[in-house]
Subunit: 219 residues, 2 copies
DNA sequence: AAAATTATTTAGATTTGTCTAAAAATATTT
DNA sequence: AAATATTTTTAGACAAATCTAAATAATTTT
């Protein structure tokens, strides 16, 4: 089954969007992939005819099991390449996403497996996200959204919700990294912001938007 | 200047073909790139309008200095990735070409330079071909075609003329690698074949076609 | 439940890179 | 140098992936 770069990008986007929702709408996809709803409809039809999607017009779309398998291969490649860039080529973890978006479309199965081995079969990428193995099995982290933590719980940052440059800029400024430990001090109903204490440092404020983008495990 | 994969492949093909000829014909390009002459004409017009080619209809084509610069970047990427695959991922030198054909189109300049550094700034790839540096400067080997050697000269294989699977299969069968040492015993006018002695082994026959594909330096 | 709004699909156009068939230019042979 | 053969270009068509504008379906509001 050979897919174009464009087809792969749709499969990947549906995979990520359906994590939350179960089923994905045309408009959601169009926004995510920076294209127009009409273009999405065309592509959904094409991928459905290739048996990669379960799609009923007006009813949203999900990946078929075949589609899910392909999505996991793409995610695996993306996260392995990110690991390579950070661990071997000394990229910053906040500058690898775009390059990995290109590298993830290289098709050689042998390349991916050799790369995996070369990196020591890592289970998580530099952002803390789990890397599927060559059978498409992916560990899931016991991670919760920072927004859902109660006051006085301690936690460790283990992944971020997106790789947008804007988010990464803010994290850099606040000196929050994967592995940073913190304790929620209090929460404010008014704007849903939190005050947290960073281990070894003082208290800082986290906005609702930022908290929503941070996934932690309690410690 | 952003080029599509297809455009880059034309630039690269012209670069390699003009090594020998100086100027490249439409049919030559079509054969090399596995496409039809009519398609080549269209692309030549497009790349000419981007000022990457010097092209007069019916008169063949050459790279402009801008085109040559881009070609060298692509060749650099190709050969660095081949080095990575062989040196780091333990690929055989005869199985890296196709993967490198994909990797060479990844656009990040930073990636290429970091990769170069990671590999220890190699000057030659696993096939013995020189790798241009980040300024597009490429060492040229003092290498001659095996066909041009006189009887009783000793030489060392330092590069092969192509990476076609057929050629690599034959080299594997005859156990000829980069670095293999040999001595030309005699040449036959009739079919332009050579008899050579492989160091530590017996005499074998090299056809005109094979000799033409082997570049050596005398020792 | 009818009207208004929003979401989605259809219809038709555009761009890129390719193709085939035919025409034009160049090269080779007699 | 005329005829023939080869090479190259032009003209017109096609598939992929996108777009805009218009039509249709679904949802929400009143």
């Amino acid at each position: 089954m050979h897919l174009t770069v464009s087809e792969e990008n749709y499969i990947k986007a549906i995979f990520h969007l359906q994590e939350a929702d179960g089923t994905v709408s045309t408009n959601q996809l169009a926004a995510n992939i920076h294209t127009k709803p009409a273009s999405v409809t065309d592509m959904l039809k094409k991928l459905t005819s290739k048996r990669l999607l379960l799609y009923k017009p007006y009813q949203g779309v999900r990946l078929s099991s075949e589609g899910r398998k392909l999505a996991l291969e793409i995610v695996r490649k993306h996260r392995l390449w990110e690991s390579f860039l950070v661990d071997k080529l000394q990229f910053g973890w906040d500058e690898v996403h775009e390059v990995a978006e290109e590298l993830e479309h290289i098709s050689s199965k042998k390349l991916v497996d050799k790369l995996d081995q070369f990196l020591g079969n890592p289970r998580f990428d530099p952002h803390g996200d789990p890397i599927p193995d060559s059978n498409g099995v992916m560990l899931s982290l016991r991670q919760v959204n920072l927004l859902d933590l109660k006051p006085h719980t301690k936690a460790e940052v283990c992944s971020v919700g997106s790789q947008s440059p804007e988010l990464l800029e803010l994290l850099k400024h606040k000196q929050i990294l994967i592995g940073t430990r913190l304790e929620v001090q209090c929460k404010f109903e008014f704007d849903h912001s939190l005050e947290i204490q960073l281990e070894g440092r003082g208290n800082i404020t986290i906005s609702q938007q930022l908290a929503q983008a941070l996934f932690v495990k309690t410690i």
